[in-house]
């Protein structure tokens, strides 16, 4: 069964550094998402992306964050200047069409900001 692939599985970075998290959604999917889960807290929506533009973003997704689909397969989340509170598990997800289809999630990237 096709999977959403995220790399790396664990990223350690210093405060103030830029970090890029990588995702390869399922190949025929058209809608892409990033969610995050701070340790011990609930999974939170960050952003949705369709047709090469952001369709919705949460208040968490401020100017430090950006997403990009640089080619036909990758979907990246960039954090420009990381803060300690950005430490979390970041999940990428995709879906083929809106409606009754559930999101397919990747295994996540654990980001640790020191």
């Amino acid at each position: 069964e096709p999977e959403v692939t995220q790399t790396p599985s664990h990223q350690v970075t210093q405060m103030g550094q830029e970090v890029i998290l990588h995702c390869v959604p399922i190949s025929n999917h058209l809608y892409f998402y990033w969610y995050r889960q701070i340790l011990g807290q609930k999974v939170e929506f960050l952003v949705s992306f369709y047709n090469n533009e952001i369709s919705e973003k949460s208040e968490i997704f401020d100017d430090q964050f950006s997403v990009e689909r640089p080619d036909g397969s990758n979907f990246t989340l960039k954090i420009r200047s990381t803060k300690l509170e950005d430490s979390a598990m970041y999940f990428c997800a995709s879906v083929g069409q809106l409606g009754n289809s559930p999101l397919h999630f990747g295994n996540g990237t654990r980001l640790t900001v020191t």
Partner: protein, 114 residues
């Protein structure tokens, strides 16, 4: 606004005994509801979904959930727990009729004792 409440943060059962993980939802329209499972160091895997078809939904690994509109509940059950069921379980509601944005519950950690 849509929301879900998972009533138990931890549930412990013995192997072979029934599992009940409780979830109540709030939605201004007929919701789409999901249960996802997260095993340690793994991603979010869909267990089952409800999208206004049959109220009793069967999922993978012997889990099922019943949508009860009168009680605004969507509890997850399994007749007989297995050691491999130990994981974090999330009740999830979609914000709109499509799955453009998901709202997660706080999660229930299921422990299974031999």
């Amino acid at each position: 606004a849509q929301s879900v409440t998972q009533l138990d943060s931890h549930v412990s059962v013995s192997e072979g005994t029934p599992v009940l993980l409780r979830c109540n939802y709030s939605s201004s329209y007929s919701p789409s509801l999901f249960w996802y499972v997260q095993h340690p160091n793994k991603g979010l895997q869909l267990l089952l979904k409800y999208t206004s078809a049959a109220t009793l939904v069967k999922g993978i690994n012997g889990f099922e959930a019943e949508f009860k509109k009168s009680e605004t509940s969507f509890h997850l059950t399994k007749p007989s727990a297995h050691m491999s069921d130990a994981a974090e379980y999330f009740c999830v509601v979609s914000v709109t009729y499509n799955t453009d944005k998901l709202i997660f519950g706080t999660g229930t950690r299921l422990q299974v004792f031999p």
